[in-house]
Every structure is written in C-alpha cells, then in structure tokens.
Amino acid sequence: MNELSGLSRLRFLPAFLWAVALIALWEIASWLLLEVLQVPMAQSKLPYIHEIVSTFGQYGNTLANEGWVTLTNAALGFALGAAAGASLAVLMSASKWMERLAFPYAVASQMVPILGLAPIVYGIVRDEQAARIIIAAYITFFPVSLNMLRGLRSAHPYALELMHSYAAKPWTIYWKLRFPASLPGLFSGLKIAAPLAVTGAILVELMGAQHGIGVIMLRNLYYGPSHTYMFWSTVIVGALLGVLSYLIIGWIERLAAPWQPEFRSKGGGR
C-alpha cells in the first residue's frame, strides 16, 4: 500500500514540477513587463498570478454563482443537442434515404458562424436563457450526430451475422448490438461537444444577458485596467468550466462503457 501511494506520488511529481516552473516563469515575466520594461497596460497582458488568486478569494462567490448559471444552461442545451444528434444518427443509420436527405443540411448548419447566429437567435426568442440553451444545443448537435453515426455503423459484420443467425428483429439488433457498439463513437462526440457548448453559452452571454460568466467577463473588460484581475478570473473560470464538462463526460463514459480498449489494464489479457 505504502509502496503504491509512493509510486503514484512519483507519477504526479513531473506534472507538479512543470506547473511550479510555469507559474514561476509567468510571475517573473509579468514582473519584467511591469517593472523593468514598463510596458503600457502590462498587467492586462500578463497579470500577476498571485493577484488573480487573491481576486478569486475575494469574488469567489460571484464567480461561482455566475459560472454555475453558465454551466447549467450549457448543460441543458448540451443534453438537448446530444439527444437530437443521437436521434438523427439513429434515423440516418436506419435508412440511406434519410441520410441523403439530412446529412447535407447537418453539414451546412456547421457553416453558419455562431457569432452571427447567436444575435439572430436572441432576436427571435428574446430570452437570454432560451438563446443560450439553443446555441449550446446547436453546437452540440453535429459532432454528436456524426460520431454516433460512425459508431452505429461500426458493428462488425460477423457480429451482425451472429444476430442474423438468431433471426433477431431489427429493433433487437439495435438494442443489443448497434447501440453498445456505438458508445465509443457517441462519447467521443460528446467529449468534443461539451466544451464547445460551454463556449457557445458564454458567447450568447457576451451579446447581452443578465447572468452568466460571460456577462461579468464583458463588464470587467469594459471597466478597463482596474478590473484586469477580475477579467482574467472570468476567463479562467470559463476555461475551467470547459475542462470540467469534458471531465464529467469522460467520467460518465468510464461508467457506461468500461469495456473499451483504452480502459483495459495493460500487461494483462492476451
């Protein structure tokens, strides 16, 4: 046991050293810009990390509350988009006709710049919450649909033959074979989409909203240099939300599809 924890501590040691070195380097560079080179607006460009950390301490509550609003809206949109994307993938996998009909539009939808779409959606629904959810769903939809479709098609021909030999009904084949086989694809789609959904929600908030991390991000940007540390804090919260969403999906994947090759213990098996 001791030996094990010692080993795992060793495993994280390089990462830890890297982080420390990076922070030190950052602080030094920040100091150089501000005090030695006296670059104008030096702190907006490369703020002191210890100042940001202290801002976090001071405004932690606000950051957490606004971040939570963004995250829940993004999550709701993400869930809707994922459900729609997965459903379309099922339809497309079931019929070539459906695929030919829907696929070009699905691709074309990705050509529309979100930056332009967000104000249009907001103008139509006139509700920041709804707009955020719609944009998050819109962004999620495509990567989930595409990856899920590939997953559904990935069932091995032999595995399908086995089902045919049992005279399994199409629905049974989906339930017992195609869906489980599609899980790796579905999850890679979800992992791409989750951080994007957060970004999308923040984007809508930048267009004018009452709540959300994007709102305070914009506000502190307007206030100028005096609010630099708060602005940076909001950016970091935004990034953390993206990472968090990714990690949550990864964690769910481990529970839902633990049999995948990437989760297999090394050295054992064949």
């Binding site: 599809a257 049999w259 098996g269």
Partner: protein, 261 residues
C-alpha cells in the same frame, strides 16, 4: 450416398450448389456443383485444405449468404425459413464475442433473444461454462481470455439453446490437443443427448473420423466435393477407439482420397 443414410429423413439437402464471390478476380469458383444430403440427427464433417470452400458452404447452409447457383432445402423448406424459425446454432471460425458483455452475458445472448427467464438463463450459462471449463471466468470480459478460451465461450453460446442444427466452423482449431480431445468427447455426449444435426468443419482428419457418421472431403480450385467417407466405427465412440486399427485405416483411406485430388 449409401442406402443406410438415404433411408433417413433428410435435414439439409444441397443440389448443385455453386458459389462465385462477386469480388473474385479470376473465374475460379469458391464452390462448384456441390450436392449432398445430410440426415436428421446425423453428425457430418466437412474436411479439406484451407481455401477449399468449407466456410462458404457452411454459410450457405446457415442462410448467411446466397449461393450463385443450385438449390438448398432444410427440412423440406428454404434455408431462410429454417433461420427465421431459429433452428440454427453457429460456431463461427472466429469467436465473435461482444466486447461489452461479460463472458456469462455472451452465453445468455441467444437465450435473451428467445425470451428465456433471467434466472434460467444464468443457470444455463453456468452449466455450459462448467462444460467448457471456464466457470471461473464468468464475470470477465472476452478480451481478458486467451484465443482458445474465447472460442470455448463461443461454443458454449452455440449450445445454449440446444439448436436443432448445429453448424461449427473449426471450433476446436485454436485449442491444444488435450482440450480438443476432451471437448470432442463432450460434444458427442451432448449430441447423443440432444439428438441434433451437426455439420462440423475441420481440417483435422482424425478429429473428423472420431466425431462423424460421414466425412465430406472437399478439394480446392474450384471447391468441389471429392469424396465421401462412411465412418463405420460403432457408437458411442470412446477414447480407446482412437488407437484402434479401424480408426487408423479410416484416416489412411481419407488421406489417400486427398492424394487422388
């Protein structure tokens, strides 16, 4: 065909079966004019070198591919009807296990499709796992097993629903000699209990002789039926018969039929 088997009810009848794969570059046929009849409850082997069309023939019987020529009947009906009536159990040349199912759940798959109760399914799976010597691995994933063990799981799965027609494509070729001989004997004892029809593909002459009532010898390029050997060894077959004069004579006879090709 000999008189003794012709008198029995035919279960699988092939007439002038030919198979040309669409992707084939040359005009060599995978199968050419194969005609044979397998009686209900008979144990037959398809024996031949690699590439002679054994798997192709088995897949035609299973209605997984359609022959490009000829006719097939299973119990007087089409092969498709037999498949839809769930009369087949198949052991493929590869194990074909589902990665997301543990060993036990792989075996219960056909029972789930048939709507067997959960408790019954699990009990049956454990019985079969014991038969193939894998009861300790019930809750492992397939990739945690060796190739031979995976193949044994596939065999257990095919036996799970006691199919009327059991099609086996080199089921024991990934096993060591000891397991192979033991499972040969187990297979015969199951067969004598269930009374199903078994078509067994192998390229091992002594295995074919030990198991079968008749051995169909196939030759390659194009795949043809080149000989039929009647195995007159009495039933039940025992370990001792493997060392008998008659056994060796039959092996030699079949080997000669290869050299005639």
């Amino acid at each position: 065909m000999t008189e003794s088997t012709a008198a029995l009810v035919p279960e699988i009848e092939l007439e002038q079966i030919s198979m040309q794969y669409p992707a084939a570059f040359s005009d060599v046929l995978a199968l050419q004019d194969v005609s044979l009849s397998i009686a209900k409850g008979e144990f037959v082997s398809l024996l031949g070198p690699s590439g002679c069309g054994k798997t192709t023939l088995l897949r035609i019987m299973a209605d997984l591919i359609q022959p490009t020529g000829g006719r097939i009947e299973v119990a007087g009906k089409s092969a498709k009807e037999a498949r839809l009536a769930q009369r087949y159990g198949i052991v493929f040349q590869n194990p074909v296990l589902y990665d997301w199912r543990k060993v036990k759940q792989n075996i219960t798959l056909p029972l789930e499709l048939k709507g067997v109760k959960k408790s019954e399914r699990e009990a049956r799976a454990m019985e079969l796992l014991e038969l193939v010597g894998l009861q300790k691995f019930a809750d492992q994933y397939p990739w945690q097993l060796s190739g031979g063990m995976q193949q044994r799981v596939a065999i257990a799965r095919a036996l799970a629903m006691e199919p009327e027609i059991l099609l086996m494509d080199e089921p024991f070729s990934a096993l060591d000699e000891f397991s192979r001989e033991r499972l040969n004997e187990e297979l015969l004892s199951i067969w004598s209990k269930v009374g199903n029809t078994i078509v067994f593909v192998t390229h091992n002459i002594s295995e074919a002789v030990f198991l079968s009532d008749r051995v169909f010898v196939l030759s390659p390029h194009p795949g043809r039926l080149s000989a039929v050997a009647e195995i007159s060894l009495p039933r039940p077959r025992t370990k001792e018969m493997r060392n008998s004069e008659a056994f060796f004579r039959l092996i030699a006879q079949i080997r000669d039929s290869f050299e005639g090709v």
